[in-house]
């Protein structure tokens, strides 16, 4: 057990906390394009650079497509790179997201989750990240500002692990986390830098050891390249655990792939991503006081999907409710719901399950909403079934 260090607590918004983490990570290249609700992250970082507090190249690109392309080039050249975006910006990056993972560029990106146009909306939902779900990135979700800070630091450790070398996204709910001030414990610069020392990118661009990056592959070899991506991303949980363990030694905070709450004897289990997990936990505690056996699971890692952990968690559940802050239009349900359904089926678990689409475009999901939802779950368990498989929770009919 390492010596207990003096805890430094400061109040920051989610955006500021992420920027502070990136600064402490001593990033070399930052490239970004302004988009609400992410902009404050890069404003802060540009100020750190302008004030000489961070020795980095700050590049404001002319689009998000170029911002992520700049990061990709910089990462291949051996720099620690960081960017952040949201919504349309992430959608515009989409093409390069696939390329970055397949080229094994350890970029770290914060995503201030925001709804997609149309109609234009700057507020929180997860449509942006769900559209980028299958791009070969490791996707992490923060439930609060502390986690946004911690996961940003951990993201560098995970991305740059020589076993992995994959880009990592840290998702924080737009406005709900990006613009909320929370007191958080921050680490010392020394601790962060000893946690994530600069290690040379093993395949960096070097004239003395010339490599070709992003070659052309025909049907006789393409599939083997993609198989390599498959083989590497499934190592992410292991790399995450390793990064998490060493992080806990400097912070006292231990992260797991999923964050269970009141699960020991839970009959009803609610799963969610992002800040809603906190709301659900608060209300779950109240319901526990009324002897309702309800538990909450937040997914800290969403990609790769923690299938085993979710299956173990849901094995004995009577009722499962999935909270989706996005929808898969024309699909069988929301994106998290379909992941959970597949997990249940693959693991031979039969239980009642429903999908709750909520909070699109920043529609508040208040404590009272959670209470109402939990009451609905309790009633459904009593009758032994849900009256629908997909609920649009809080939509005006």
């Amino acid at each position: 057990m390492s010596e207990l260090k003096q805890v430094r607590k400061i109040a920051l918004t989610g955006d500021e906390a992420v920027a502070y983490a990136a600064k402490q990570a001593d990033v070399d290249v930052i490239a970004a394009y302004p988009i609400t609700p992410q902009t404050i992250i890069v404003e802060r970082l540009s100020k750190y650079v302008a004030d000489g507090e961070l020795n980095a190249a700050f590049i404001q690109a002319e689009s998000e497509h170029s911002a992520i392309s700049i990061c990709l080039g910089a990462a291949l050249a051996g720099a620690r790179t960081f960017t952040s975006t949201a919504s349309q910006g992430l959608a515009l990056m989409h093409e390069v997201l696939h390329i970055a993972s397949s080229m094994r560029a350890p970029i770290v990106m914060a995503i201030a989750n925001r709804a997609l146009n149309s109609p234009l909306n700057i507020h929180c939902d997860h449509s942006d990240i769900m559209n980028a779900r299958d791009t070969g990135w490791v996707h992490l979700f923060a439930n609060n500002v502390q986690q946004a800070y911690d996961l940003t630091i951990m993201a560098f450790k995970i991305a740059e692990d020589p076993e992995l070398l994959l880009p990592v996204s840290v998702n924080l709910d737009g406005f709900i986390l990006t613009h909320s001030v929370e007191p958080l414990e921050v680490l010392s610069d020394e601790d962060v830098q000893s946690y994530i020392p600069h290690i040379p990118y093993p395949y960096r661009i070097d004239f003395d050891r010339p490599l070709a990056y992003g070659v052309m592959a025909l049907p006789d070899t393409y599939m083997e390249f993609r198989r390599q991506l498959y083989e590497v991303i499934i190592k992410a949980p292991k790399v995450f655990r390793k990064a998490s363990e060493s992080f806990s030694k400097i912070s006292g905070r231990l992260y797991n792939l999923i964050a269970p709450y009141f699960l020991e004897d839970a009959e009803i289990i609610v799963l969610a991503l992002g800040s809603t997990v906190e709301t659900l936990r608060y209300v779950a505690r109240k319901f526990r006081g009324r002897n309702v056996k309800i538990g909450v699971v937040g997914l800290t890692m969403y990609r790769p999907f923690p299938e085993k952990e979710i299956a173990d968690t849901l094995a004995n559940a009577k009722c499962v409710a999935v909270m989706d802050r996005a929808y898969s239009y024309g699909g069988v349900g929301g994106p998290l719901y379909t992941d959970i359904l597949s997990t249940l089926y693959k693991n031979g678990i039969r239980t009642m399950i429903a999908d709750f689409i909520y909070g699109l475009g920043g529609r508040d999901f208040k404590l009272t909403d959670a209470e109402e939802l939990f009451s609905k779950l309790v009633k459904s368990v009593e009758v032994g079934r849900f009256d629908q498989d997909i609920y649009w929770w809080g939509v005006r009919e």
Binding site: D28, V29, A31, N55, A56, A57, I59, A61, E62, S63, H65, S66, A67, S69, I70, C71, L72, G73, A74, A75, L76, A77, G78, A79, T81, E95, V96, I99, M103, H198, P200, R204, I205, D206, F207, D208, P210, L211, A212, Y213, G214, V215, M216, A217, L218, T221, F225
Partner: protein, 315 residues
């Protein structure tokens, strides 16, 4: 008169090393392959090439073979200037932080990847003042996908998406003034070049690399399939483009315009056009007006350059 700075006075001064290796899959008679070979003769220190999707990219990187004897990066079609921006800024900061060594960065893209889909990334990179050389090899259409019109296709040329039809005889629009767009960013150095004038081109590449800022070279690279002429005629056609004033060879350093190859007695434009199948229909009587438009464009452009040479770009 050719390029002002003569790093290589004769062909004997050009290094024997080829960083662009033989054995690539570009067509026999491909102008772009020559441009690559020549450009790579001019490198002066550790260098990385960033290549847009296109003919050169697909034909020089087919796994497991590669034609580049230096680090070579391809990401996508439209973002070459952005990827190159990231690489150069990474090298700069890593050198400062004593964690890496400096490289020259050369971005290479075709006309589609520069005039059209890559224009925004190019503009952004030029405005941000990164130290990099961007070379656009211009074969005047999307040749890699099968000869579709681009913003670089000249008026009247037939392509597979601007065919010489009964009603619409080839491309109706004018070729974009790319060098004009580039120079509007007031970058320190921009030039045009032709593979028919290799020393001029190699010297310009070296000149551009010596300058601490964004530099740009637009090199004309005839395409045997797209322009429809026999592979043996590539250099001849490139030369005709210069000698008919169709493609003036210029250099602009800090706003000072120099026409490097003074074509005092231009050959008739028809000599350049007749040699290529893509312009064949322009010699039908009903299309004579398009031929005239093209001639007008060439004359107008030349006269404008003469004036700019006199007064400078920023006068």
């Amino acid at each position: 008169m050719e390029s002002a700075q003569k790093y290589f006075k004769t062909i004997r001064d050009v290094p024997i090393e080829d960083y662009f290796a033989p054995g690539h899959r570009l067509c026999a008679g491909c102008g772009a392959s020559l441009a690559m070979k020549l450009a790579m003769k001019a490198i002066r220190m550790p260098t990385v090439v960033v290549n847009a999707t296109g003919c050169v990219e697909v034909s020089t990187s087919l796994f497991p073979y590669v034609s580049w004897r230096l680090p070579w990066v391809h990401v996508a079609f439209e973002n070459t200037a952005a990827v190159a921006s990231g690489i150069i800024e990474a090298f700069r900061i890593l050198e400062k932080k004593e964690r890496g060594k400096m490289h020259d960065v050369i971005a290479i893209a075709g006309d589609g990847g520069t005039f059209d889909i890559g224009l925004q990334a190019l503009s952004g990179a030029l405005e941000r003042n990164h130290k990099m050389l961007y070379i656009c090899y211009d074969n005047e259409a999307y040749m890699n996908t099968g000869i579709q019109r681009s913003g670089a296709t000249p008026t009247g040329a037939a392509t597979t998406t601007s065919p010489a039809g009964k009603v619409i005889p080839g491309k109706q629009e004018r070729k974009k003034d790319l060098i004009g767009i580039v120079l509007a960013h007031r970058i320190p150095y921009a030039a045009t070049a032709s593979i028919s004038h290799p020393l001029d081109f190699i010297n310009k590449v070296r000149r551009a690399l010596e300058i601490d800022g964004p530099t740009f070279i637009h090199v004309l690279t005839p395409c045997t399939l797209g322009w429809r002429y026999p592979p043996s005629q590539t250099i001849k056609i490139a030369r005709l483009a210069v000698e008919t004033r169709y493609f003036p060879i210029i250099e602009v350093e800090n706003g000072k315009v120099r026409i490097n190859i003074k074509v005092t007695k231009p050959r008739p434009l028809e000599e350049f056009l007749e040699a290529q199948g893509r312009f064949r229909h322009l010699f039908e009587p009903e299309n004579k007006h398009i031929l005239e438009i093209l001639k007008q464009q060439v004359e107008e452009n030349w006269n404008r350059l003469l004036k700019l040479e006199e007064i400078g770009l920023y006068a």
